[in-house]
Symmetry: C2
């Protein structure tokens, strides 16, 4: 067992703050692990951009994370998981997982009526990646994908428990209710922050799947299988480090509002140089 | 008079589709001029990014527009006008104007009670560029700036004549109504598309200033003063050319919905190479 590697951090990246919901689940479920987080705040959002662009951005970020000596990478962004993960995973020796497969797998397991809804950005839903993964597992499942481009800006405006956000969600979710889905995948890392209002609208008969949580569990299994689990219980002074491509202070404010501890420092780097 | 130069196109750029409202006013008010438009769709939005990042992006775009032999450049983006125009104008010999100064000048002229509201992105309002320009003209004018980050995504979702958009606007504009502004600057290039609903909420006693229109008029004066006005009435086969950094087809659909003629072609270029 390579002690250096087990004590190395997990690299987690997203287009901005959304991936913090994934980092939060890793902190909760793998408390011995260190994290290096990168948010591409200069170039967000990813959801409205093309495959080639997202692939180029992802490669730059992975090169940056490698300079931080990470032992594994979590692509904590649905769009990058959809557009870039398979390709960049083949280009590197690092273990890499995205948020889409874990969410898709659990959704396929929990549906009873074989009707699953997926909400996400235009990039994620337009790529049909959730539908493809779910139907790889069970081709008889019907998957209805609904792009919801206003939800990220509403969360970033902090209108989370809000009548406008409820109306926007009611409009976006109406078609999925008519289609009688019994399972709904929160297919964007911002959406767990809207979980309670989505649950109220969909009703208790619909199971909500949070890919952030499922990804943390899959990461735990992956680290164990590769003998990469951090055995330590002692944390370094800064177990969680945060890097962004722009507006570090704004990121820190948002991070402090959703993480269960104080983010001391966020550093801006020039990602286009990687 | 240099015939080559007078027949050269005007370069117009924005972070995405918003600057098309400026291009539209140039088409209406300077019908003899050709236009090369660039929308930085790979890196939008600009409104939530920092000065340094916007400056770097603007320099790349200006280098691209110079390869298209433009005779003048219109920075059709409030954030780039606020953060980058003065600096990049000093680095080039090309005549350059932004959308902020023309809008600020007219607002200062039309206010009676010396209370002006400005709505825009976080970048534009946080830079206080409208307040600074307006108070340079008349220090006794009170300028109230209100960031409205949800309006661009609402316009891009095409929820333009919509009850949700009305509620969002009512919430954003309430403070400006309480402050009794008699003039309101539509300080983001997307906002002219919301002009009628903003006018209904603010009432007929409030004058709306559209910087896109004022910029076209100022461009006309600038070209005349420099002997750069295109004397021709004959148009080339493609008088208006459109370039983007991503998702050319999506851009074309939006462009066709707001421009008064058919956009035949939009070309994707790799802006980070400039």
């Amino acid at each position: 067992m390579n002690m250096d590697l087990t004590e190395a951090p997990i690299g987690v990246f997203d287009s901005g703050v959304g991936g913090l919901t994934v980092a939060r689940e890793i902190m909760r479920n793998l408390p011995a692990e260190h994290i290096v987080y990168f948010g591409d705040t200069a170039r967000l959002p990813y959801g409205s951009k093309s495959r080639d662009t997202i692939l180029m951005f992802s490669r730059q970020i992975i090169r940056f994370l490698q300079t931080q000596h990470v032992k594994a990478i979590v692509v904590a962004c649905n769009t990058a998981s959809a557009f870039a993960l398979d390709e960049v995973a083949g280009e590197n020796n690092l273990p890499m997982i995205g948020v889409v497969k874990p969410g898709a797998r659990v959704a396929a397991q929990v549906t009873s009526n074989k009707r699953i809804g997926v909400i996400g950005t235009e990039g994620t839903t337009g790529s049909h990646i959730y539908r493809n993964y779910i139907q790889d597992i069970d081709p008889e499942i019907t998957v209805i994908e609904k792009p919801c481009p206003l939800l990220v800006p509403l969360v970033e405006e902090r209108w989370i428990h809000d009548s406008v956000t409820r109306q926007v969600l009611e409009r976006y979710l109406a078609g999925l209710q008519e289609q009688q889905v019994d399972t709904l995948v929160l297919g964007c890392t911002h959406y767990p922050l809207l979980r309670s209002i989505v649950g109220e609208i969909m009703g208790s008969a619909v199971t909500l799947v949070n890919p952030a949580y499922e990804t943390a569990l899959e990461l735990k299994q992956l680290l164990a299988a590769r003998n990469l689990t951090n055995p330590g219980t002692d944390k370094k002074e800064f177990p969680y480090r945060f890097f962004v491509s722009d507006l570090a202070d704004k990121f820190k404010v948002f991070a402090n509002s959703i993480l269960p501890y104080d983010v001391e420092m966020t550093q801006k780097i020039d990602i286009e140089n990687y």
